[in-house]
Subunit: 210 residues, 2 copies
């Protein structure tokens, strides 16, 4: 008997929207059926971090080899370090019939969409822009100009939502978690994902009856 | 401010699968957000039934007028009586922003699909065909031939599932209810249903900020 291929679930959204918090809340639930996709990075391991759990910690050379071998679903450079999503592990997990959960920036998510368009792309949106502005303002002592620049970038990212499948407004974390879970449950119930199994049952029934 | 149009939700499946039980369980929950679409019929009102709640009880002439005026989403004749789904009420409810819930036979559902393809069509499937056979056998004292005929019809109906959007296996009623609710919640989160509202928010934010 073959397992049905798992779903690739991509949770993304503008910075400051609370992606990490929602993802952590989902993985803190009991009976989590999703496998979290661990990123690779060249940055140093911090205290308390575990290799293979928080990140795969690799050298600069190893990372560039992964790029060259086309082994990354997407990657980006940030403050002199690489961050990327290893492809091998994702495919293995999907093939084994498990859903893979990716939490990722908007630019990365759009690259994943190109590469694995069959994924389920969920855009986490702020309840409203004023609240996002408050969060950005409260983060530091940036000038009005810097804040407006960040808001402009957030708005550009929000406009990317049209490339996603679903939008979840992060008004309250438990609400957002419930909605993400409903999306994944419902995606598994789509006809195309079920029809082969039921056709096989019908065939079996009439074979046995004959 | 305009309300977003509600969703038409169609729950259907072969006879004996338990559509009525699942529908009743959904409408017995607290905080039901869906409006049940009441059918019209020409059959006599039974004791305890309420006109406008269980059915709209109409005369044969009234029903045929509804057919002539194209006021029915679908209709069928069964044991000398008409049964049908009035269109006006459904459109009013959807326009007011409420979801309309329809529980209906497979043939009727396929007619609704033609007429309102934007509806969410959920096929309720038996856990397996042997169990469906048990239910059909336990209903009466039919001959092997009659039972096989009914099973053949059920299988034909199950093959119609490809015209639906989702398949929910009715293994346990509470599971099926949870899945139907997840489907409806997730459909409301689809990008196309949310994008206009968020674009308007962005516009508003920059108007205020300017």
């Amino acid at each position: 008997m073959t397992n049905q291929r798992g779903l690739l679930i991509v949770l993304s959204g503008p910075s400051g929207v609370g992606k990490g918090t929602v993802r952590a809340a989902i993985f803190n639930e009991k009976d989590v059926d999703y496998v979290y996709s661990v990123s690779a990075t060249t940055r140093n391991m911090r205290e308390g971090e575990v290799d293979g759990k928080d990140y795969y910690f690799v050298s600069h050379e190893e990372f560039e080899q992964l790029i060259e071998d086309d082994q990354l679903l997407e990657y980006a450079e940030y403050v002199g370090n690489y961050y990327g999503t290893p492809l091998n592990k994702i495919n293995e997990t999907l093939e084994a019939g498990y859903d893979v959960f990716l939490e990722i920036e908007v630019q990365g998510a759009l690259k994943v969409r190109e590469r694995m368009p069959e994924g389920i792309f969920i855009f986490l949106a702020p309840p409203n822009l004023s609240e996002l502005e408050d969060r950005i303002v409260n983060r530091g002592t940036d000038s009005h100009g810097v804040i407006m620049e960040r808001m402009q970038k957030a708005v550009e990212e929000i406009e990317m939502m049209q490339h996603y499948d679903y939008v979840v407004v992060n008004d309250e974390v438990p609400n957002a978690v419930k909605k993400v879970n409903a999306i994944i449950e419902s995606e598994h119930l789509k006809v195309d994902r079920v029809v082969d199994k039921i056709q096989a049952q019908i065939h079996e029934y009439f074979q046995e009856g004959a």
